[in-house]
């Protein structure tokens, strides 16, 4: 790996965990304002001078049999942005991110990472990406340490680098005591943290994280968020999907709302929410709110 892509010196990660050793529940913090929305708005349209676009998605389409999962998604994500994708279940978030990361072949459309096309120039494009897929297995008969080593070697890192980064990542994610245990014996949250560590080990320019906080406890989630925010501050770019609106609103500076495989709104957080909370705006856009009628029996208890 060339040093130029070493945006995020992983050695700094261990400091992060010490800093945030006091449990900071995300809920207890006041909702942090998206940083510098006006100054460094990451979406091109808002900026007169073209900023460095890390990820460009255009015209992405994916059909499964007769069902269209993703119907023409266009997004541009600028360097240094913390980009959130929200959408209801089955909206096509995972399908989109799978195509972005080169795991699923799109029916139409292109994805470029720093100018490298994911499907025609995969080696260059994939080297710049760290990936955390949702609901895909890991090689879980390996120990945590072996899995990190495996990911590191497949990414072309040398032994010494892997050793240092494994130690740092383990400290940052609180995995020190579990590194020598088989991944299959991990809890769901720990598996997620290990997968996240494996996604970061080659210090990529872009992190694509699908549901990174699912089943991760609040303390670990706060630690992970600190790590991710430092990464963004150092110039890294993150795209995450989630259906936890509070979290997306709090950590992301821009957001895209995907419903039925199409982008309904995207841009800087403040523009998309337009004075409401993201959750209110999302429910309004998704339009799936149903009045809870016809369940009167629930109000007459059986004993």
């Amino acid at each position: 790996m060339d040093s130029e892509t070493d945006l995020n010196d992983v050695a700094s990660l261990s400091e992060v965990s010490e800093e945030s050793a006091t449990p900071t529940s995300p809920a207890s913090k006041p909702a942090r304002k998206p940083r510098n929305v006006s100054a460094t708005a990451p979406v091109v349209a808002a900026e007169p001078v073209e900023r460095d676009i890390v990820l460009r998605i255009s015209g992405l389409v994916k059909r499964f049999d007769d069902k269209t999962a993703v119907s023409g998604i266009d997004l541009e994500i600028a360097a240094g942005s913390f980009f959130g994708i929200v959408g209801p279940n089955g909206a096509g978030k995972t399908t989109t991110l799978s195509m972005v990361t080169g795991l699923l072949r799109p029916d139409a459309g292109t994805v470029t990472v720093h100018g490298a096309d994911v499907w025609s120039d995969p080696v260059v494009a994939k080297r710049k990406m760290g990936v955390l897929p949702d609901r895909l297995r890991m090689f879980d008969r390996l120990t945590g340490a072996q899995l990190l080593y495996y990911s590191g070697v497949l990414r072309g890192l040398d032994k010494a680098t892997i050793r240092i980064r494994t130690a740092d990542l383990a400290a940052a994610f609180g995995l020190e005591d579990s590194l020598n245990r088989l991944v299959t014996d991990y809890s769901a949250g720990m598996t997620k943290k290990l997968a996240l560590a494996a996604a970061m080990i080659h210090s990529p320019r872009l992190l694509v994280l699908d549901e990174p906080f699912e089943s991760v406890d609040p303390v670990s989630a706060a630690n992970v968020i600190d790590i991710l925010q430092k990464y963004v501050a150092a110039g890294g770019t993150i795209i995450i999907s989630s259906h936890t609106m509070n979290l997306i609103e709090r950590v992301c500076d821009s957001v895209a709302v995907i419903v039925n495989g199409a982008v309904l709104a995207s841009g800087p957080m403040a523009e998309v929410t337009a004075g409401k909370t993201l959750e209110e705006k999302f429910v309004e856009l998704a339009g799936g709110r149903k009045a809870a009628e016809g369940m009167e029996w629930l109000h007459t208890f059986s004993d």
Binding site: L103, R105, R127, P133, L136, F139, Q146, R155
Partner: protein
């Protein structure tokens, strides 16, 4: 309560047909197989009505005992998910005794239970010889069905309960392979008994013993009565009824215990260091080889095959030895057979990874590294095996000249087989047991039919090794030149197929990685 669970079981049974085409085919074959064997047994039982009492008695008791054993053990081996696991009803707050009764009755709606019921009704025909036997036969039919239902429930639930941790499951899988393999000499022994002359006598002895055990007691009641032994019949009635009561108590206690015991906490073992990763080069190929090696020893799906492969030639040698082929000639057999199966085993290796293969994709691991990484562990096992095994085999055979042919044929099978497996695992993956499932469980999923690909790869490996095999065979007729030729052809063809196979496999892999992941996620 009982009606609810019965309806639930019926719904589950009907819904099992609403699966993909191949699953329905599999299910239909299973059901057909079950009913075909039932028809066979029923026809036999009816025919026994017209046979003299001693023969009928001995046959019914022995076959009946086997039926009870099969019903008890089969669910353990198949390891299917238990729809009526008592723990699934833990949240409904049902009285434990009621629940245990309801679950037993619910178990009646299953192919094995229906087959057992039909068989137990058929033995009514066998004993329709006199009034007393017939009355006792009705009682015994009830006891047979009760015994079978209860013991299969108890064994299934006990297994699900005790094997709830991953390590316990892995170990159980390995042990059951060993048990099955240990049984094979017994089967051969049984096959070689001189049945024509001593068969009936042996059957009678076995029936006398089994009739006093819980396995055969229920079947023996009307049989003994028909033979005129009312005292024995009543004693066995007591044994059979007592056993049903004991099973019922065990079942009730088990249901109670399962409902109130939380899932066992696995005791996680730790492994220091990087294991095999320290032994292989720090390249993608080396890392994949180390990962593969780790799986060979740590994943019960690989472990059980690794254990089973040496037993296949042992089994063949015993059968052929019984058939009268000299032992020193049979000494030539094991090594090539082991090489054949070792190479063939990895023909679906990518499917074994399931969706974990995404890591290779997102790191843009090249096909060549993936292909070679997966076969290096087999070479690490196989090449020393050929070196040592060929010397041992030739020594046992008693003529050193066959050493050449042995090395030639074995290398051809191993190297060529790995080349062909490299192509097959990238081009024709099929659904297999998922990581962490029992090696015996049926793969759930759609995809191309497995047996065709298995047979095709197997035959292809033998086809590419056939020049070496033919040359070796000629060596036994025309002398050592042909043995030397077998060595040259075997190693040569093996290396060519290995090189070409991995190259083609790598190209296919590079082109199809996305499709491989889509396939895996449907598995």
């Amino acid at each position: 309560m009982v009606a609810h669970i019965l309806r639930l079981k019926l719904t589950l049974f009907v819904n099992s047909f609403r699966l993909s085409f191949w699953q329905v085919v599999g299910l239909a074959v299973g059901i057909l197989y079950g009913f075909a064997s039932a028809v066979f047994v029923v026809a036999g039982l009816v025919a026994l009505r017209f046979v003299e009492v001693d023969v009928a008695r001995a046959t019914v008791i022995v076959v009946g005992s086997v039926v009870v054993v099969v019903v008890t053990v089969l669910p353990l081996i198949l390891g299917t998910e238990d729809a009526l696991d008592p723990r699934k009803f833990g949240l409904f707050g049902i009285n434990t005794t009621k629940l245990s009764v309801a679950l037993i009755i619910g178990a009646v709606v299953s192919v094995p239970a229906i087959v057992i019921t039909v068989i137990s009704l058929a033995q009514l025909v066998t004993w329709s010889r006199d009034g007393v036997s017939e009355v006792l036969a009705i009682l015994s039919a009830v006891l047979i069905v009760a015994t079978c239902l209860l013991s299969s429930r108890v064994s299934t639930s006990l297994a699900a309960f005790l094997l709830s941790t991953r390590r316990a499951r892995d170990l159980a899988a390995i042990f059951s392979i060993i048990a099955l393999l240990a049984l094979s000499p017994v089967i051969i022994l049984v096959l070689t008994i001189d049945w024509r002359h001593r068969g009936l006598e042996l059957l009678g002895d076995a029936a006398n013993v089994l009739g006093w055990t819980p396995l055969g007691a229920a079947w023996a009641i009307p049989a003994d009565a028909a033979a005129g032994n009312i005292d024995d019949a009543l004693a066995k009635l007591a044994i059979a009824a007592g056993w049903v009561v004991i099973l019922a108590i065990i079942w009730r206690v088990l249901v109670g215990a399962m409902l109130t015991t939380p899932l066992r906490q696995p005791h996680a073992r730790t492994y220091a260091g990087l294991g095999w990763f320290d032994w292989f080069a720090r390249t993608p190929t080396g890392a994949i080889a180390a990962r593969s090696m780790t799986y060979w020893f740590r994943d019960s799906r690989y472990g059980s095959s690794l254990l089973a492969i040496p037993f296949i030639p042992v089994f063949m040698v015993i059968v052929l030895a019984v058939a009268g082929i000299p032992l020193n000639e049979l000494a030539l057999l094991p090594l090539p057979v082991i090489c054949l199966f070792l190479a063939w085993f990895v023909h679906n290796d990518v499917a074994f990874d399931n969706t974990a293969i995404w890591l290779h994709m997102s790191t843009s691991t090249i096909g060549r590294a993936d292909r070679w990484g997966r076969i290096i562990p087999v070479l690490v096992l196989g090449v020393p095996l050929i070196a040592v095994g060929s010397v041992v085999s030739a020594w046992l055979f008693g003529d050193w000249v066959v050493l050449l042919s042995l090395v030639g044929v074995s290398s051809s099978l191993l190297l060529g087989g790995l080349g062909l497996s490299s192509v097959a695992s990238a081009r024709f993956p099929y659904s297999t047991v998922r990581p962490g499932d029992s090696p015996f469980s049926q793969p759930q999923g759609i995809g191309s039919p497995a047996s065709g690909i298995q047979a095709f790869t197997f035959i292809a490996i033998i086809f590419f090794a056939s020049p070496a095999i033919v040359s070796a065979a000629l060596g036994f007729i025309y002398g050592s030149f042909w043995h030397l030729l077998a060595l040259a052809i075997g190693v040569g063809v093996g290396l060519i197929v290995l090189t070409a196979g991995t190259a083609i496999g790598a190209r296919v892999y590079d082109r199809r990685t996305s499709e491989l992941l889509v396939f895996a996620s449907q598995n």
